[in-house]
């Protein structure tokens, strides 16, 4: 009967749906979760005491401290430049705007090893800029400054992109409404425009910060074997010391840190907004 046939088809559709959902989860597990769980297993293999010991060694703390410092500076720099550039490319029309927009995405396509070699070629003591900075007593390679510059390159598009997406969707009439209600340009920027960009800014901060925290290739090349950051410490522990438990422990910290910071940031923004 027609009714039963329809029922059968519905059942089939429901089954297909569950099959697809299970497949999606399975793929996610195999490609993403599984590698991470093995790290967690290794880190806690010998109990939480060992884990704690591994992440509180002087080297590990030093490396994580460097990473936090670098990521914070990189994020702050990109916060300023990113919002400024997003504003320019969304709100101003000028010749070459669309080419400029495309070029800003360039760092995403540049391999990090290329970033590393480019900075060495620019800032090494023999290179043009390197000679100059060295003469001022400011060696860029190896230094935290050099790594920060490389990370700014790598993360450059993130803030621009996430802010410009929001800025583009922002209804200009909101700012006009603020003007008609008596808000000056500065008041409008502060009370209407910037709060509206909040979501994009938070996303940009999250992307920039985590990307800088995890950046390995260019960091490795610019650290000159002298400096350590989180990812370099993991490499050193596993490839040089062959201490996989310690390497996994630092890895977990590096993985959890962005989430902690993200939640902290969201909480702070919510508090700010409530006032």
């Amino acid at each position: 009967m027609a009714g039963e046939e329809g029922g059968g088809r519905t059942e089939l559709r429901a089954m297909t749906k569950w099959l697809m959902v299970s497949l999606a989860f399975a793929l996610f597990f195999v490609f993403v979760l599984m590698p991470l769980t093995s790290t967690v297993r290794f880190a806690f293999e010998d109990g939480p005491g060992k884990f704690w010991g591994a992440i509180t060694t002087e080297d590990a703390l030093n490396a994580l401290g460097n990473s936090m410092l670098i990521a914070t500076v990189v994020t702050l720099v990109n916060l300023g430049t990113g919002i400024l550039i997003a504003w320019v490319i969304v709100r101003h029309d000028f010749p070459g705007r669309s080419i400029f927009r495309t070029l800003i995405e360039l760092p995403i396509a540049v391999p990090t090893a290329v970033v590393g070699i480019s900075f060495i070629m620019l800032y090494s003591p023999e290179a043009f800029l390197g000679k100059m900075t060295d003469s001022w007593g400011l060696a860029i390679i190896p230094s935290v400054t050099g790594i920060i510059l490389a990370h700014i390159f790598v993360t450059f598009p993130f803030m621009v992109r996430s802010v410009s997406v929001v800025l583009e969707k922002l209804d200009v009439a909101q700012e006009e409404a603020a003007h008609t209600l008596g808000a000056s340009r500065r008041q409008t920027l502060w009370h209407v425009t910037l709060p509206a960009l909040r979501g994009g800014v938070v996303a940009g901060i999250a992307l920039t910060f985590t990307r800088s925290l995890g950046e390995f290739g260019s960091t490795f090349m610019l650290a000159g074997g002298v400096l350590r950051t989180g990812p370099l410490e993991i490499y050193h522990l596993s490839e040089v010391n062959l201490d996989y438990q310690a390497a996994s422990s630092v890895a977990i910290l590096l993985m959890v840190l962005p989430f902690v910071i993200l939640f902290g940031l969201n909480w702070a923004v919510d508090r700010m907004e409530a006032n």
Binding site: E176, A177, S184
Partner: protein, 359 residues
Amino acid sequence: MPPYLEVRGVRMAFGGKRVLESVDLAVERGRSLAILGPSGCGKSTLLRIISGLVRQDAGEVRLDGERIDAVPAERRGIGFLFQHYSLFPHMTVRQNIEFGLRMRGVPPEQRAARARELLRLIGLEGLADRRPGRLSGGEQQRVALARALAIEPRLLLLDEPFGALDAKIRRRLRRDLKALQRRLGITMVFVTHDQDEAFEVGDSIAVMHGGRIEQVGLPRDLYDHPATGFVARFVGNVNVLEMPVDPGEPAEEVIIRPEDVLVERVGDGEGHATLANYVFLGPLIELSLAMDTGDELAAIMTKVEFVERGLRRGQRMRVAFRALRTFPKEQEPERVIVPPRSMGPPEMPGMEPPLGMRW
């Protein structure tokens, strides 16, 4: 005494394209003016110039006797309602309403009291702590109205404020707005492309077309005495025919209102037209006549008349016009042909006058 709001000789062009061509306008204190026109006629630009959001190329805007052209929008004290409400999404309803007062440094207790008062006025007391994103379109526009009224504006400008709402809510909101405007004595300029809206909200109406004001008047004036062909065609329904007004003269564009088309049933092979179709509009019936000239003609009559005459589809009809208008191309004063009541209906060129027509 000069009018409360006065716009004189305002011109505007965007990138070489002329949007406003010397616009003059006046609104008395406490009155509302509706600017009616098709999209692209410049009505929104005119509104934005009055508000100060856009600066005109030439001409002046005066409010309460004082020139305000050089005053920036934020110091004009003119409320503005946008088509898409433009509430601040990160603020609650209450914070939105308080915004203008906050920018002026009004203390929090006073702000809160004013917000409460306005929430009561728009009947949304219960939604004070909601974010705009969780309100319906109608509710959002009411909040936007409260937000604009909070600063006690010297003038309220509305740019298609109900354009994004569905018909039922639109009708209710414009009724509420009109009542509020009367009660509070707000001076208002309202922009719309919807004739019903303009007629209901405006004490007077300015019809705009191609960057010019074509006519300002009461709804009745615009309907009965359109100053230009555009006004005649844009306000109300019309038939536009290409024909000579008098036999032997060259063909002209002739405008006839459906209620000015008189019809009478005649036998087969007689008359000027065939009744092609009719639509019930409740008490009225709209007839669609296929003229022998190939034109289509709309006529309107009461249901009673329709039934009395026993009209059916496909019947032959004799047609006459009670009044018709012509407008020369260069927008000169109209030539109206309205016969005195004692006379018979005017002859339709080349046709015999219908007999026994009741007036």
